[in-house]
């Protein structure tokens, strides 16, 4: 231990100065201890994110600059920028919702769909976002959800809300067909059929659990 002659207290750790009065400590018995670990600043663990942010900005600046010097017909730096933005949005969602994998999957479906429609519109509306991306995203999300639920041993309560949401989302292509917005209807039909079958399977086989989940979440 060490000793502070000013405060008249013993200090267990090997400090130079008193934590109370900041005066220089005296040796007492030569034995000091380490009771608390030293915790490094959090900043270091964020370094990875900072480096990625820097690389994204450099890459965007270079691509725009390159395009100005050597113009091409396609505005590829814009496409590149969308790609970078999508990656960042995806990353932020993964980091924020790291605890809720099913929730994350549903969010990804939603974001992919919105980005696809936006991108499709930007590069002259060929309709591929409605034809393919939305139906495929919702069907694959449902498959991914079943698989992760199995692999990660998730309980029904963890994914039931999200599989219901995705099921409802997967039925939306009905609107596209009715309003004649799609040129290729097979993916939409598969998505609608798959969603209806999955939803009914959940209600028939897991109805009780859904009910239990609802009473739990809605208790007053």
């Amino acid at each position: 231990m060490k000793y502070c002659g000013h405060c008249k207290v013993y200090i267990r750790e090997d400090h130079d100065r008193c934590v109370l009065c900041e005066n220089i400590l005296e040796e007492f018995d030569g034995k000091t201890e380490e009771v608390f670990p030293e915790v490094p600043p959090f900043y270091e663990s964020r370094l990875g994110i900072k480096i990625m942010m820097f690389i994204s900005i450099v890459a965007l600046v270079v691509s725009f600059g390159f395009n100005m010097i050597f113009p091409s017909e396609i505005n590829w730096p814009i496409l590149f920028m969308f790609a970078v933005i999508s990656i960042w949005i995806g990353l932020i969602i993964i980091i924020q919702k790291r605890y809720h994998i099913p929730k994350k999957i549903v969010w990804q479906v939603f974001i992919v769909s919105v980005l696809a429609v936006f991108w499709d519109y930007k590069i002259g509306w060929r309709g591929w976002s409605l034809d393919y991306i939305i139906p495929i995203a919702s069907v694959s999300a449902m498959i991914i959800m079943y698989v992760t639920a199995k692999i990660m041993n998730l309980s029904v309560s963890d994914y039931v809300t999200y599989i219901l949401l995705d099921g409802v989302f997967g039925i939306i292509p009905i609107v596209f067909i009715v309003l004649d917005l799609v040129k290729v209807i097979y993916p939409s039909i598969i998505s609608i059929g798959f969603s209806i079958i999955s939803l009914s399977a959940i209600f028939i086989f897991r109805g009780e659990e859904i009910k239990a989940e609802i009473t739990k979440r809605m208790h007053i």
């Binding site: 207290v9 750790e13 739990k216 809605m218």
Partner: protein, 425 residues
């Protein structure tokens, strides 16, 4: 989706009355996390600690629950998460509950000679968590010192059944007869606010002072008080000494938690406490320390009557039974609880909390040096507990400054009490 993958039924529980405020009001600045630590005489063996934790969890099923958001209220839900002991690597009382996160509400750290239990306050109060830590230490000692103890392995006194430990004691002990009209109107005066320069990354500064219970008791008696009253008065006095003299128009008010288990028949390991405010107005009252002790002592006697405690409990339950409040969606409740919490915070300057005496089997006393407790704080707070003759006073503070702590410990050392100081920064 076959019947065979039907797992153990997921259990769920409502939050007890005192817990409800914590998920709504916890944030990175005030994590509502507290830490109980046991310091041994030898280095901790992580493998044995893990075994001891596994055994302990069997008697505390609540510790495997996670906190989730419903539409109207938060609720606990059983989980199959398997907690692992970790080498301590974070600042004391770092966040545990993260909104939307599905993690357990406690963690077990080891570092050199210390075993620490950190818990989110919604799970349990300090007294409840002590049972958990006592049980953990019991199993750990039995595993590590099996040979030395030989035949003398003590048996553990569990004290309560598992259902008693999981009980919501607020509901059980509430007498609806008491009319809210009897409730005293609490003073709405705002209290002196301790200010300081914040530590980086919302870290907490912990300063622990270990001293002899007997010496402190002797000193307290010289002022005609018990230890809690004496320390409460000393904390008021230390804050006063640090207070800028132009600010002393406002009273210094300390929040003091009351363990309701000593007033009602309850052995819950969850939350069962209420609080009282003890204030002192330095502008209109004497600045003599002995007068402060006298006034604090009087205030304790007035507040801690059976009748007053019943009233406090009734007041607590009033909100819970209010139909409008009940059907408000959780998001709205969260906002109101945050606002209410801010108003309450304005009325107090700091808090002092006595977790009490910690006991272990006599056979283990040679292996355990001390127990200590600290809690997340937005202003310097004092918490303490004792083990044998060693009492540990822990100040937790988000500030760089240590003036209040210095005044406090210097007062004691000048009265001839030997103090050993430990600090994390």
């Amino acid at each position: 989706m076959k019947a065979k993958d039907k797992k153990q039924k997921v259990e769920w529980k409502k939050l007890d009355n005192a817990s409800k405020i914590f998920p709504a009001t916890s944030n990175n600045k005030d994590t509502k996390v507290y830490r109980l630590a046991a310091e041994l005489y030898s280095d901790v063996d992580p493998e044995s600690l893990q075994k001891a934790l596994d055994l302990t969890l069997r008697s505390f099923p609540m510790y495997r629950f996670v906190l989730r958001r419903g539409f109207f209220w938060y609720y606990f839900e059983s989980s199959d998460i398997y907690p692992k002991v970790e080498l301590e690597s974070t600042s004391p009382c770092s966040p545990i509950y993260i909104r939307g996160g599905k993690n357990l509400l406690f963690r077990i750290f080891y570092y050199k000679k210390r075993i620490s239990l950190e818990a989110f306050h919604a799970l349990s109060d300090g007294v409840g968590a002590i049972w958990f830590l006592e049980t953990l230490i019991f199993h750990y000692m039995k595993i590590v010192h099996k040979e030395e103890l030989g035949e003398e392995i003590p048996s553990f006194e569990y004290g309560a059944s598992i259902s008693q430990k999981m009980a919501d004691s607020f509901w059980k002990n509430y007498t609806p007869k008491i009319q809210s009209a009897h409730l005293k109107k609490e003073e709405n005066k705002s209290a002196y606010k301790i200010r300081g320069k914040k530590l980086d990354e919302n870290r907490m500064r912990v300063i622990e002072g270990a001293l002899s219970v007997e010496a402190l008791l002797k000193l307290s008696r010289e002022y005609g008080a018990n230890i809690t009253v004496f320390l409460t008065a000393l904390l008021l006095y230390s804050i006063y000494l640090d207070m800028p003299k132009n600010k002393n128009k406002k009273p210094i008010v300390l929040s003091v938690p009351i363990n309701l288990r000593s007033y009602f028949n309850s052995s819950t390991a969850r939350n069962f406490f209420t609080t009282m405010n003890v204030g002192y107005d330095f502008q209109s009252s004497s600045h003599e320390f002995k007068d402060i002790v006298g006034l604090v002592s009087k205030k304790f006697k007035e507040e801690l009557t059976e009748e007053n405690i019943q009233l406090k409990l009734a007041k607590y339950m009033k909100l819970e039974n209010n139909p409008v409040a009940r059907i408000a969606p959780l998001t709205i409740k969260d906002i109101f609880m945050k606002i209410g919490n801010r108003f309450n915070d304005k009325k107090i300057s700091s808090s002092i909390s006595n977790i009490g005496k910690i006991k272990t089997a006599k056979e283990f006393e040679d292996y355990i040096k001390q127990f200590s407790v600290c809690i997340s704080a937005r202003a310097p707070k004092l918490t303490f507990c004792s083990y044998g003759d060693r009492l540990v006073l822990s100040f937790t503070s988000p500030f760089v400054e240590t003036d209040i702590q210095r005044e406090f410990f210097q007062f004691l050392s000048k009265k001839g009490i030997e103090i050993e100081i430990t600090s994390n920064i």
